[in-house]
């Protein structure tokens, strides 16, 4: 951590090439690896043999949408983590810990299990977005900018437990007998056997939200020196907060409505990348999108590991990776927290 912050250029030159390569390699691995190893090259050259049609179907309809969703969902979580941390000037801020994800899952659950999703087009992502927006607005209201890390985390605990309880309640009241068993999906998330239908659900909101998040670089930089300095440098912080809340709600809500709640990505990615951008909150934003995509592609590959036999839930892998990091961060922040 010291080496990069001492260097005069403060942004590692190799960061982008490494991130792009890692994401690309993991994306291709994600197409290739699974119950069937798909010979991508043979398939494109027409040498895949008798199973070609099946393998092509698996590639096009199962692996490809799954990998694309991993990029969208992971990218969204990484991006929102970096932006929320910059806005709230708090390394613990992220959609999962703040409760935006679980509130989004609640919204999606209400819409899906009570029949709206089948009758109203786009009701599912809209439910997720409404939930995520409610969650993040509640957080801003309870803690908001300038709150101490402990206040923010406590507010997140409150929103998370409320959303979790209401999700369980909504599933219990749902008419479907399968609803209460499916709580695992909503709490831990999964990308297994998702299709292009789900990609189509997420895509418009990612296209809407990502550009907003990716252009917040300069106000987030200004916030390095606190809110007064940022305001005095000509940035309207209410406007900034509005954009962050809106874009986070749109992207996180839509993603959670197809993938369930996948935790810790927004915490891990900015934390791991921060030293390599000279701890610069603005320059952290764009790499966090790629880092999130790479992390979720990798985590999703782990869920398919043959060592485990049955597929693991995605949130289990991200929590196993993320929770120790969370503890590490808490340890280092404990003076500021108390």
């Amino acid at each position: 951590m010291n080496a990069p912050s001492q260097s005069p250029t403060s942004q590692a030159r190799w960061l982008w090439p490494v991130l792009v390569t890692t994401t690309a390699v993991l994306f291709i691995a994600s197409l290739k690896v699974g119950p069937a190893s798909i010979p991508l090259w043979d398939l494109t050259t027409g040498n895949a043999g008798a199973e070609a049609a099946t393998l092509a179907l698996i590639l096009a309809e199962i692996r490809l949408p799954r990998a694309i969703l991993a990029v969208f969902v992971g990218g969204t979580l990484g991006l929102c983590g970096a932006v929320l941390q910059g806005l709230l000037r708090n390394p613990l801020a992220e959609p999962g810990l703040l409760g935006a994800s679980s509130a989004g899952a609640l919204g999606a659950v209400i819409v899906l299990y009570h029949g709206l999703a089948t009758t109203v087009p786009l009701a599912l992502p809209m439910g997720g977005i409404a939930g995520a927006l409610t969650g993040i607005i509640l957080i801003m209201f309870l803690a908001g900018r300038g709150a101490r890390p402990s206040t923010l985390i406590l507010a997140g605990v409150a929103v998370n437990s409320l959303a979790g309880a209401l999700t369980a309640l909504a599933l219990n009241l749902a008419p479907s007998p399968f609803a209460s068993l499916e709580i695992v999906f909503w709490m831990l998330g999964s990308l297994a056997d998702r299709s292009f239908d789900h990609v189509r659900i997420v895509l418009p909101f990612v296209l809407l939200g990502w550009p907003i998040l990716l252009t917040l670089r300069r106000p987030l930089e200004a916030l390095t020196l606190g809110e007064d300095v940022a305001s005095s440098l000509g940035f309207d912080l209410r406007h900034l907060q509005l954009r962050v809340v809106l874009a986070t709600g749109l992207t996180v809500g839509a993603c959670v409505s197809v993938s369930g709640n996948i935790g810790f990505v927004g915490l891990m990615v900015p934390h791991l990348l921060r030293p390599w951008v000279g701890h610069h909150p603005g320059r952290l934003v764009a790499p966090s999108a790629l880092g999130g995509a790479a992390l979720l592609l990798g985590a999703d590959l782990l869920t398919r590991s043959p060592v485990l036999g049955q597929e693991l839930k995605l949130g289990v892998v991200t929590a196993l990776l993320g929770a120790p990091l969370f503890l590490h961060l808490l340890w280092h922040l404990r003076r500021r927290l108390l």
């Binding site: 912050s5 001492q6 005069p8 020196l225 005095s232 000509g234």
Partner: protein, 262 residues
Amino acid sequence: MSLEATAINLAIGGRAILIDASVRVDTGRVIGLLGPNGAGKSTLLRSLAGLEPSVAGKRTLDGVTAPPRANREWACRVAYLPQTGDLSWPVTVREVVTLGRLPHHAGPWGSQSAQDRAIVDLAMKHADVTLLANRPADALSGGERARVMLARALATEADYLLADEPIAGLDPGHQLQVMELLRARAGAGMGLLVVLHDLTLACRYCDMVVLLQAGRVVAQGRPLEVLNPDNLANVFGVRVLAANTPDGPIRVPVARLPEDVR
């Protein structure tokens, strides 16, 4: 050329913080803003800087009405240096100073030009932090940090600088150093409004002082005239030792006065 606030009124939670307060900063001058704790010095500074949203009164910049909130154009003309040197992330000193260039670029990306880098170098030179450029800004001493924050404010190349207690918490040597740096900026044509508590430094480095008490301006003018023993007794409730030495005037508080004498 001047930055001016006229008849500023501001109440927070029903309590009046500023009452008809007026202050004027001319280019090339250092104006000291003095007063007891809670007199409204910081609030007046923030109001002038466009950081207090619910302020009544008139603010003008070179005779033109100022925008209610600091915007990008305003930020290029008026710099604000808060008392707390808040730093959220351990970026380098050069990065911190470069933040001063933000208002000079429109759009979401705005990369630095060679000219920006030159201005940042100059600001670091003026604040005497050139040697710290590549150090993480969270690992500095108080004096270093104060100068880094000053360099950031200077890097905006603003015509006016509003500085809130820039020497609070510094040792005497660093206090003199920062005051000299501010004086030098005024010499280069900048207008400065500086909140101070040190009466002697106010006498020596300010062209004018404004004395604030309970939200009102009670006196303003040349330092030696305003900071007379009567005013100081009334406003601060202290008896001062006032003298002229070969090195300049001094005002040293020596005793608290009982309530009835003030």
